[in-house]
Symmetry: C2
Subunit: 302 residues, 2 copies
């Protein structure tokens, strides 16, 4: 099997793994039935699961001789599911009429279209504490659990993802500088990608040096992820993307492409990919999946 | 000073205490400025702070000889602030047009009226992780922190507060039985009142027996709180209440008064008060503030 096929297989295996864990952990036949059904609709059966993959890959990269204990492997499931729950809730709220007003997500009707606005609001409100519940039940030392909770809470909050969202909302029809755009995305998308890598490191007991390498990698791919999104919004079509293409331009939202141009954005992506690979060189062969994920983030077509 | 005056003084002191702690912990001059300003507007300068008071009172009730260590006292501040943040976020989202569509809260314009709907959504979304951030930084044993995070996450989620909210939304214009109404409120209001008491117990190192007494008390006052709310919606006026009186009846929402009648509801309140006092008798003199809070919840006029 080629390295590329191995990477693809690893990604599919871990996507299935977090999907099965989420399906098992999310309430189904419990009351209130409709809320739980809508929560499952919002979370299961879709998404690239990049954040979950980053958790697993970071955990592997820092584990002793590439071997995770079964408790650590289980804890990675919890952390991977937790970041996917936060991501899923943010999409549900982001799609609401008072925010981006999107009707299509991953090729399916958004939650408020499939159900109603009140349900979509409550789905998001309930997915968030479920993420912290999963972290709290990780089978690792309580001190590590506490570090993980603190990291996720900060990344999800007003100085992280939600803060970026607020800056994004306030920036429609405004000319942002490249620095302002970078700051907005660093919070809106970057914070959750970074904490995904960090959680993998925490759970697998990374040293402070290893954590620093992980964070260098994470910041680079966080930026790359957004640049790639902006490029895809221009070059991909709606069917491939699973959401409305060209929407940022139509909404008059600033993007890397609108500020730097398409060619410079594509060049930046290549540089970021190299930078990400370089950041994890000190972690050795265990970081193979992290390297593959950097490629995936830059080279994806959806 | 009479016992009643002492109780009043205790309540005021602890209200000031959590207010000062919240004011200090919530971001103010950090970016994004408007989001942080709106978060402070939603949380500070109002509210009965019943949940915070329950955290402190439960902590006192189970402390050794009524003495809390300074670390425990500090941890109670974190826990008290955390439950108030979750409560505040739930009110902000609950007031939105797609939910209760309220324009007045604590005598002031609601967050989406003062700012806009997108900001109100994001305020709620950011207050929730801030609550978990505060729990994660409690200066007590990590194992206790993990218990606290698990308890708060469960109480705030789909099998707790948000689940009750979903049942409430689905029950407009429906004739609920007394059991169904009780189940809805047990989740919607009861879960957060109960976890407030439980968090105080966890932080102060309550034994499992003491925790059981606390939970008996908490379930009773949880129910009493809602019955009192329903009675007040009928007998109080808008000015005293600080929110629109008679709104439940106007919205055709089932209440204890609409199902049991006013007199039977008032009688039930008196019985619940006695039951709450009885539950904490085994905890001795340290439980004085919990007893006073049971009286406050039943006898309040707003």
């Amino acid at each position: 099997m080629s390295q590329k096929e191995q990477n693809q297989q690893w990604l599919e295996q871990h996507l299935e793994r977090v999907e099965a864990f989420l399906a098992q952990q999310m309430p189904s036949s419990q009351l209130p039935l409709q809320l739980h059904e809508a929560m499952r609709y919002a979370v299961l059966g879709g998404g690239k699961r990049v954040r979950a993959a980053l958790v697993y890959a970071a955990g592997e990269a820092v584990s002793q001789n590439g071997e995770l204990s079964s408790a650590q492997a289980k804890a990675l499931d919890h952390a991977a599911a937790a970041v996917e729950l936060i991501h899923a809730y943010s999409l549900v709220h982001d799609d609401l009429p008072c925010m981006d007003d999107d009707e299509l997500r991953r090729g399916r009707p958004t939650v408020h279209v499939k159900y109603d606005e009140a349900t979509a609001m409550l789905v998001g409100d309930a997915l968030q504490p479920l993420a912290f519940e999963l972290l709290a039940s990780m089978p690792v030392a309580p001190a590590l659990v506490v570090q993980a909770v603190a990291a996720l809470a900060t990344a999800a909050g007003s100085r992280g993802m939600v803060g970026g969202q607020a800056i994004d909302c306030a920036s429609v029809d405004k000319a942002l500088s490249l620095d302002e755009l970078r700051h907005m995305h660093r919070l809106k998308t970057g914070a959750m990608l970074e904490v995904s890598v960090l959680l993998g490191g925490i759970v697998a007991g990374a040293s402070s040096t290893a954590r620093q390498h992980l964070m260098d990698y994470a910041q680079t791919i966080g930026l790359a992820f957004q640049v790639a999104d902006d490029v895809l919004d221009v070059v991909a079509d709606t069917a491939t993307l699973g959401k409305t293409a060209g929407k940022d331009a139509a909404d008059n939202k600033p993007t890397y492409v609108s500020i730097m141009g398409l060619e410079a954005s594509q060049q930046l992506l290549l540089e970021l990919k190299q930078q990400a690979h370089k950041a994890i060189l000190p972690l050795g062969a265990g970081a193979q999946s992290l390297a593959a994920l950097a490629n995936f983030i830059v080279d994806r077509n959806h």
